[in-house]
Symmetry: D2
Subunit: 335 residues, 4 copies
């Protein structure tokens, strides 16, 4: 049994993570941390867990966490996460980090998008980016994995196979993404209040969303030229799900069949991506570990459509996919 701790267990991704780990035959949750006072039971925060797990939220030192756990999932916010990760790695834990702290390769880009001050900057550039479909072998040997962002996962899984095969141009890519509200987290804010979100869709952080450099970085790694995407996220009146509609230019005379064949071949045998003929809806992936992808030729353009559950393939099921790889378990175990 692999002993597992979750840092910052009060949010929506932690709730999903706990539910997956409860049915995981090789993992045992041994610690849940939070700054909540009085060590309340986790089920008082997430009533869904009543009668399924009887464990308190604790405020633990890094040593205490390292004593109790072989592997740590950090659901802490960026900045706070890197502060926790460094000592845990030093103590020998494996770590899967949900925050953005280790996703970007350079401090310069990190500071441009997240502001000054990274508590563990030296490690940047050496951390494995935990997108299993692209970096499976590196993940297997990693002690620390940076779990990707939800938007980048939906976009990168659709575009990398086409870029890598030279079917689309690396210039001129537009990614128009629509996300459910759970992506904004569980901290009360006016913008995510029910009457503000319901019966309404809007773009936000246009040209400024922090997932932009993460998409650029991954697409660039699979292209001969640096990629700079136009990325627009939209807040959609639903709890879960991301749908990304991406527009790119074909390289030469590329047919829809070629696009679909390449996607199918690229993901052949991969357990968590489904290349589909139909136009996917987020509902099809909700509650599942899948990313559904399709491609169309429209006039002079390639349109790819990909969707996933932002809390699962966009966060927690992907984290467990990484965990499974790190411990040499079947990749889709418990997903």
């Amino acid at each position: 049994m692999i002993r597992v701790a979750i840092l910052g267990a009060t949010g929506y991704t932690a709730l999903e993570l706990i539910q997956i780990l409860l049915r995981h035959p090789e993992a045992e949750i041994t610690a849940l941390t939070s700054r909540q006072e009085g060590n309340p039971p986790i089920s008082s925060i997430h009533p869904q867990l009543t009668a399924r797990i009887d464990m308190p939220l604790e405020s633990l030192s890094y040593d205490e966490v390292a004593d109790r756990a072989d592997c740590v999932f950090s659901c802490l916010p960026h900045g706070a996460s890197a502060e926790a990760v460094a000592p845990l790695l030093a103590a020998g834990c494996k770590v899967i980090d949900f925050s953005a702290d280790y996703r970007l390769d350079t401090l310069e880009v990190f500071e441009q998008w997240y502001g000054a001050g990274h508590p563990d900057a030296n490690r940047l550039g050496t951390v494995v980016y935990g997108l299993p479909e692209l970096f499976r072998e590196k993940i297997r040997g990693a002690q620390l994995v940076a779990n990707p962002g939800c938007y980048p996962t939906s976009a990168n899984l659709a575009l990398v196979p086409l870029l890598v095969a030279g079917l689309i141009d690396s210039r001129g890519i537009v990614i128009d993404s629509k996300s459910g509200v759970s992506g904004a987290g569980r901290t009360p804010k006016l913008a995510t209040l029910y009457p503000e979100c319901n019966e309404s869709i809007s773009a936000y952080n246009v040209g400024q969303h922090r997932h932009t450099p993460e998409i650029d970085q991954t697409l660039s790694a699979f292209s001969s030229k640096p990629v700079e995407v136009i990325f627009t996220p939209h807040l959609t009146p639903m709890t879960r799900g991301i749908l990304s509609t991406a527009y790119s230019y074909p390289q030469g005379d590329v047919s829809e069949t070629q696009l679909m064949d390449q996607l199918r071949e690229f993901y052949s045998g991969q357990p968590c991506v489904r290349v589909v003929e139909h136009l996917p809806a987020t509902r099809h992936c909700s509650g599942t570990p899948f990313c559904d992808i399709t491609a169309r030729r429209v006039r002079d353009r390639v349109v790819t459509i990909s969707c996933l559950d932002n809390l699962l393939k966009g966060a927690s099921s992907m984290a467990v996919q990484n965990f499974n790889l790190m411990y040499d378990l079947p990749e889709a175990m418990a997903l």
Copy 2:
């Protein structure tokens, strides 16, 4: 032109009120107050109002408000509202109070449900309860009107005509109400975050909701015996609307026809209540000043179903209905 001020103009009921007053031929908004810093334009808080009203939110003294306005709508929270109302009345303003401060007749009941300390307790028992369908004549002459709560309005409008005609027993009344989330206000809270409310219904404040004594008081006023209702509110995944399903015992051998006839007669000629044959849905009243009501006989019981838009007939359109009565204007003007 009647000069009108709105206190506490940042909430959902104030937004609706502003929109009604903007189309009111006899009212002119002359002040909007709030504790926001820097006198931001109201349209920066409610973008719906862009290009429709160009007025700042100001932090004004009661004297300044009284100087600018003939009539004041107070959308302040309970406690704060009574503090503002007393000096405005002294300065000669008419006041329509959205808070609960003046709805209950006795300090004892107020303190039992709202806690100790009413800033203007002496006035309790003398204030007109602003439910036009029941207290129209008193409202006409009033300087201060207590605008009713949204739940009580939906319940009282269905039950009073049947009680008053002796068609139902005053004992054993159960009111099961379902409300949209806007009723909980615009202050960010975990309970009204989108992912907490969406795809979920739940009861809240069971046996403890503060609208209970307000329903008891009005029903008792129209019954020979004191009424104590069982009232259960439910948070429903929609922005607007209240539906109240009320269960009562018939007095003797009462038919569905008798129930409907009495409702029709009671509301004959009244502009904001529709007695309907079909089972009403909150959608039918959304955006309108109507309360829709129907009644059924089921086994040994009477079931009434009533619905309204909690922000309109449950708050702001009723406030303007009261305003119209107080200024001898057609009751439904601008609604």
Copy 3:
């Protein structure tokens, strides 16, 4: 491996059933039937199932079904279901019937609520009602189980323990239920079109809903006197979930603690009911096999609140709970 067939596999309950059976270690789906032309793959109807099951929808004779399956889940509509069930039982299959055909004990009551003509009326009165928490032992030995309705399950699980212990009166029970729209099925109808349901709640079939006699029958079985409930269903703007708020009179001087203790004791050790201190929300049970129940004393009344996922504990997970019992497997296997 137990070979399993699903009749009428295109609806929402069948989709949930398939997903549960796909992870069931002792069941293997061997046939999916429907009247669809051309034997389309099930994933073309339910894209959620893409890459998870590769099986056509077939139009099979009862003999063909009986050849392929040991156990048959019938998701056919009432009337059609009994027509299929009779020959399958004769051929030796075990059957779990989702329809209402075998839930009521007498033809008289069936015809009163469902209209004349039951194709297998002689069997009425001999069929086990598949509510495991109440009829576990009978289910173990049954060849045919009538899977209960969603509303009755939510109401009966809350009320039976209190009735049986004499804590509440069998007279005067009111059940006010709120259901998500998936309960109305997958056949396109104006009433369940998105714009008709969204942002709206309404009561329907007041005093006439066919689940009424099913609730009466079960409560009566656990009471010394025949029970006739007042039952009002409401269509709620959510896909899944039922919340039932039930109002009853205490027998004598009953405290909230007594109510909760009785519920806890009654469900002690039962895997699919959670007696909870907090007020449950349908969201807590969504995607789970649980029914959450709590009770309150309010003035002269007992208020119980129970909720469940109408497609799971209200249909498909309960069907598999019955399946597990019928085959002597752990009751919560795969749930």
Copy 4:
């Protein structure tokens, strides 16, 4: 008083149209048509209208309509609409057509997107396209106006001012639109059933949506070169609203300020477009006659965001805007 008839009065746009006309001081509804049997009152189809209009749905001949009405709003489906419009024009009525029948200038393009067979093809190319912000003067003199599609209105209002001023390139335009479900009409279909749409977003008709040539045609009219857009509509879980995010290339070195200045100047004094600094949400326009527009520079691209209520500025309030212009009334009367 202008006598007004509405053909096909059972849909969502007709409901909105009726509500606007009921408050219009110069219009009187004199006929509502539909193929419904038995001349039911309109309020039996749209319960929202109870007590507000007492008029039957009738199956009338064109002569009867022309006798009763000066102006006819046709909410009939394409094909059927042109069949009705031709005789009404011949009888001297003014007509505002909600269908696509007269929006396109050539039979060739019509047949390419809508299939063979236009019942009144000779008129194509002579009909005024009823987008008041672009064709105000032509509308004033028109007997027949083709009321624009909802998607084209949201896209064209954002892009035309920038194209006309040479601020953006006519090549390479991508329009990613998100629409509420009411846009799909009131006829029951699986795709628009509540459980199919709720908690889900999806693209549909990718590369094939019939509004594509309508956008092409209008943008081409304001550009020196023919425009061919990439247009992707998405079905969004909300009843009302369209948000269009459009991506285009700037012509030369264009700043965000230049973009916004041009939008502001173009719409200066226009009553139904608001150029806004903030990122608009469909909620801001819901229930209003406004289209809200903003523009941003992002990397090498121009991003415009525009939104409106698909049933109002995307259909019925725009129709009344056209009506007002055709009858020389204030453009925003009753909106």
